[in-house]
């Protein structure tokens, strides 16, 4: 049998292959040869064969049949064999295979070998891929070696111990005695690995941390020696003595000094010394400075030191090396909350980084810029950020737009500025804004009463320019619908009023309806806007015509709306003005974080919008359990309610039953075809209950769910368009007695196979003598198409006494759940 070819020979041969197929063929041939060689239990060439196998493994070919061979090599007495064997074990074996445990005994023997290089191999392998079982078995050996005087072995044992502790944290105690003299070593290798071991122990156990705090003076001394000592050729890197060790010591000091006054004070001087004396011309010096800054910021350092640290970061920002700039921005981002003022001083440099070429740096700079925006610098910062928004890559636009909106909401100096800023975002990055920015903006506009004319004019002009950006178009249509009369009357104070005719405005809106660029949602907006103008404009006939055309539109949503509007013209014309009148000021939502009162710093502003407290809808657990008990059996009902700060009306909001219940968080998926419910702004908060019963449901008849003691609750239905399994039920509560029902709370429970979501009610007072109704929307997800059943609970105060009642609702029409 000819000797198997040598490793280099094989490599050379494989590299001559011109195609992947050729390579595969060569490899298969060689693998076959190796396999038969393994079968023959050939000791002489096993090493060579395994080495070749490792090469082929690196190319991506399977090599598992070599695993046992590696073990045999490890067990061999020859150093060459062991070297390749251990390498093979580290490359081919992992703790998932039971085979690896066979190594344990070999490693144990080798840890006690007479040759330190063999011991080294064993330590290295154990420290690299030792499983928990192996670590448990061999921890004792490692601990022994940690105490040896042989520094070659001691340093390896220290890192091996780190691995053991990571795998089996309970064994940490075992290594404690051996750590006693570790720091008195002169050997840098041992020092470095010891510091790593101490760091690992302190990070894992507060007791260890407390125990090792006493080492702070010693660590400070070692660090000082490193800095002060002259040139040491062995450990020198660009004029700095053992930067690796310096960095690790600084990191350990950080952990020891955190939260501890005494330790922090003990390291104060050395930190200042390192910070001021380290050479900054090369990366290595900056690496040390970076670690120093991190330490200063984390411990209880005095303010002078902190300012020094931030200034170092500021200097980093001006460094030519982009890596340094990146690292500086990352660190500043971490410290901006705690040392806000100090970071503010570097604001202009940070803003300059927005123009950097590197994507990661730009992102960091953007995040940091948003963190630095406050009431004083809002105008300047916003200018820079808007400029950034114009020119940045698409991957940034969504986040930047959100950030701009948030900052504008918090710090807008005036309502006009706010609206201008939002307009700018919509016109330049309109396709990237999040879906909920449309309702937010609409709400903002509604609440800025004196700006209505200005706003609608600007939006109208923007529409004339460009109708491709859907969020802009949607907001504009809504505004024109609401404030079209102001557009005509030319009342704008803020800028030169434009002259338009009714026909021109209607042309624009109709243009949106027919344009290919408009999404179905946008079309919905424009149809509604046209309808609203029927009470504000005089060209009612034209509007009637448009509306009737869309009564036969293919788009179901548009068709539904058109049909309803048609009905408004025909049967309910007397209701039309009331229904289509101006929207009231809406409650402030809590969509993007904590609810805040809009700040208007100085400038021409009247009072500020106060967030109203919506009626409490929260269901405390105990009440829920009552309903749970009563429905009994195997069906455990699920009650879900929204958080009280959710708005009652939110056109375009996409409340997904299966997804998040709260609005906070990143943008949901791109807009599905149509919003769930009926024309969003017409119905909510209105009292005309009987009107929409026949129109509302796409064919599902309404029903009376409850009628007792003067309280009547009707359900009206419709299907949510995107999801046919979701039934949207609107409850209408009316009160025929002579006294109001106050503190009215409606609760519902459904069997487990359903999911239910209750939106906020329109109010919690049901007025007496049927003067008005309380409406509330329930959404039920009925994926299994089972018969809908519901148990409801009503509580209210009537004539001074509290009333509570439970009822079952079983008379759902079949169409509501089929």
């Amino acid at each position: 049998m000819p000797a198997p070819i040598r490793l280099r020979e094989l490599i050379r041969t494989i590299r001559t292959a011109r195609t992947q197929a050729e390579e595969r063929e060569m490899i298969q041939k060689e693998c076959a040869a190796i396999r038969s060689s393994f079968r023959e239990e050939d000791n002489t060439y096993r090493c060579r064969n395994v080495a070749k196998l490792l090469y082929m493994h690196m190319l991506g070919y399977p090599a598992h049949f070599g695993q046992l061979e590696c073990l045999k090599l490890i067990a061999s007495q020859k150093f060459t064999d062991k070297r390749i064997g251990y390498l093979g074990a580290m490359l081919l074996l992992d703790e998932r295979q039971d085979v690896h445990l066979l190594m344990t005994n070999c490693i144990k023997n080798d840890l006690n070998h007479s040759t330190q290089y063999v011991q080294g191999l064993a330590l290295c392998t154990l420290g690299c891929m030792g499983s928990s079982e192996m670590c448990r078995d061999l921890a004792g050996e490692v601990e022994k070696l940690l105490k040896t005087s042989n520094s070659y072995l001691r340093k390896k044992a220290a890192l091996c111990a780190v691995h053991v502790i990571r795998k089996v944290p309970e064994l940490m105690e075992m290594f404690l005695p051996a750590t006693k003299n570790l720091l008195s070593e002169k050997n840098h290798g041992v020092l470095h690995t010891s510091v790593v071991l101490l760091t690992e122990m302190c990070e894992r156990s507060p007791d260890m941390l407390a125990h090792f705090r006493k080492l702070v003076p010693q660590l400070v001394r070692i660090l000082k020696n490193l800095i002060m000592s002259g040139y040491s050729p062995e450990h020198d890197v660009s004029g700095i003595s053992d930067p690796f060790l310096q960095v690790r010591i600084l990191r350990l000091l950080r952990i020891l000094g955190k939260g501890d006054d005494d330790s922090s004070e003990a390291m104060n001087d050395i930190l200042a010394q390192v910070a001021t004396n380290t050479e900054t011309s090369k990366n290595v010096g900056n690496a040390i400075l970076y670690e120093t800054v991190l330490t200063i910021m984390d411990i209880k350092s005095e303010s002078g030191l902190r300012v020094l640290a931030i200034n170092i970061l500021g200097r980093f920002l001006l460094n030519n090396d982009k890596n340094i700039r990146y690292v500086a921005l990352t660190s500043l981002l971490k410290t901006v909350q705690t040392d806000h003022n100090a970071v503010q001083r570097h604001r202009s440099t940070i803003v300059d980084c927005l123009k950097d070429l590197d994507v990661s740096i730009k992102r960091r700079a953007m995040e940091l810029s948003f963190a630095l925006v406050n009431g004083n610098n809002i105008r300047g910062m916003m200018k820079e950020l808007l400029y950034f928004l114009d020119s940045c890559d698409p991957e940034f636009k969504a986040d930047c737009a959100s950030g701009v909106f948030l900052a504008a909401e918090k710090y807008a100096p005036s309502k006009r500025w706010h609206i201008d800023t939002i307009m700018r975002v919509l016109t330049t990055a309109g396709s990237y804004v999040r879906d909920d920015s449309v309702p937010n903006l609409i709400q903002l506009i509604t609440n800025s009463v004196e700006m209505h004319a200005y706003t609608v004019q600007r939006l109208y002009k923007a529409l004339l320019d460009d109708i491709s950006q859907q969020p802009l178009v949607q907001v504009a249509s809504w505004c024109i619908g609401e404030y079209g009369d102001l557009l005509l009357s030319g009342q704008c104070e803020e800028e030169e009023p434009i002259q338009v005719t009714e026909d021109e405005v209607l042309d624009v809106l109709e243009g949106l309806l027919v344009s290919n660029l408009s999404t179905p949602v946008t079309r919905g907006y424009s149809l509604t806007a046209i309808m609203k103008l029927s009470t504000r404009f005089s060209s009612v006939n034209r509007i009637k015509k448009v509306v009737s055309i869309y009564g036969s539109s293919i788009d179901v949503e548009l068709q539904q709306r058109a049909v309803e509007y048609n009905a408004l013209f025909k049967k309910y014309d007397h209701m039309r003005p009331a229904l289509l009148e101006r929207m009231p000021i809406m409650e402030k939502t809590a969509s993007n974080g904590p609810t805040e009162i809009v700040q208007t710093n100085g400038e021409t502003e009247p009072s500020v919008v106060e967030p109203k407290h919506p009626p409490p809808v929260n269901q405390p657990a105990s009440q829920g359990n009552d309903l749970l008990d009563l429905l009994g059996g195997n069906d455990v009902p699920v009650i879900q309610t929204t958080m009280p700060t959710k708005p009652a009306s939110a056109g375009g909001e996409l409340l997904d039953l299966l997804g998040d219940l709260s609005l906070g968080g990143p943008a949901p998926a791109p807009a599905p075809p149509a919003p769930a419910s009926q024309p969003p702004f017409l119905l909510d908060g209105l009292s005309s209950q009987p009107l929409f019963n026949d129109i509302a449901a796409a064919g599902i008849p309404p029903m009376t769910a409850y009628n007792k003691n003067g309280l009547k609750i009707d359900f009206t239905f419709e299907r949510a368009n995107p999801n046919p399994n979701v039934a949207v039920i609107t409850i209408h509560a009316s009160n025929s007695t002579e006294a109001d029902m106050t503190d009215f709370v409606f609760q519902a429970a459904v069997p487990k196979t359903f999911q239910l979501q209750l939106l906020s009610p329109s109010s919690n007072v049901v007025p007496a003598l049927n003067q008005g109704t309380v409406t509330q929307v329930i959404r039920v997800l009925n994926q299994q198409k089972q018969q809908l059943r519901m148990r409801i609970k009503l509580t209210y105060t009537h004539k001074g006494s509290a009333v509570q009642d439970l009822a079952e609702v079983n008379n759902f029409p079949p169409q509501s759940w089929q």
Binding site: M58, L87, L159, F244, N323, D358
Partner: protein, 160 residues
């Protein structure tokens, strides 16, 4: 450090050292994705990027990319120095190292790495000591080889 990869400009893997337990399949997937990501970077970009929940530090030396995955609390700048130290060690050992040296002597590249790093951390900060240890181990390998029964010349050159 969680792992270190060396790969060429064409994306061919030259060395892979893993310090975390992962299946072969996962390793292949990570390697493939990371190589793609790093190769797509433009020269003017910085040496750090965020990838999954790790920080990636990479540097190109001639035709080889050296790529390390470190954890959140690790220092990126010193990792660059670690990479540089490894390259210096290879350079000293092979004498002006190039990619071919690493291809044909990959096992030696691993041995050197294993004398410099252990479990993802540096075990020796003195260049001299690492090289000395490798030298001694190589000698030991030679000694044990000589101790075997001497083979014929023909066997040596692989002709029988």
């Amino acid at each position: 450090m969680q792992f270190m990869l060396l790969f060429s400009r064409q994306g061919k893997l030259r060395l892979q050292k893993w310090y975390v337990p992962l299946s072969d399949k996962e390793k292949k997937k990570i390697t493939r994705e990371l190589v793609q990501t790093v190769l797509a970077r433009k020269p003017k970009m910085c040496s750090f990027l965020e990838w999954r929940d790790l920080k990636i530090v990479y540097k190109r030396y001639a035709s080889l990319y050296f790529c390390c995955a470190i954890e959140d609390q690790d220092n990126e700048l010193i990792t660059l120095e670690i990479i540089h130290r490894y390259v210096e060690l290879l350079d000293k050992y092979f004498g002006s190292v190039c990619e071919l040296d690493i291809i044909f002597n990959f096992e030696k590249a691993y041995f050197i790495l294993d004398e410099f790093l252990l479990g993802g951390e540096a075990q020796e900060t003195s260049k001299k000591n690492v090289l000395k240890a490798i030298e001694q181990a190589d000698l030991l390998q030679e000694d044990t080889k000589e101790a075997e029964t001497p083979r014929s010349v023909l066997e040596e050159i692989g002709l029988t």
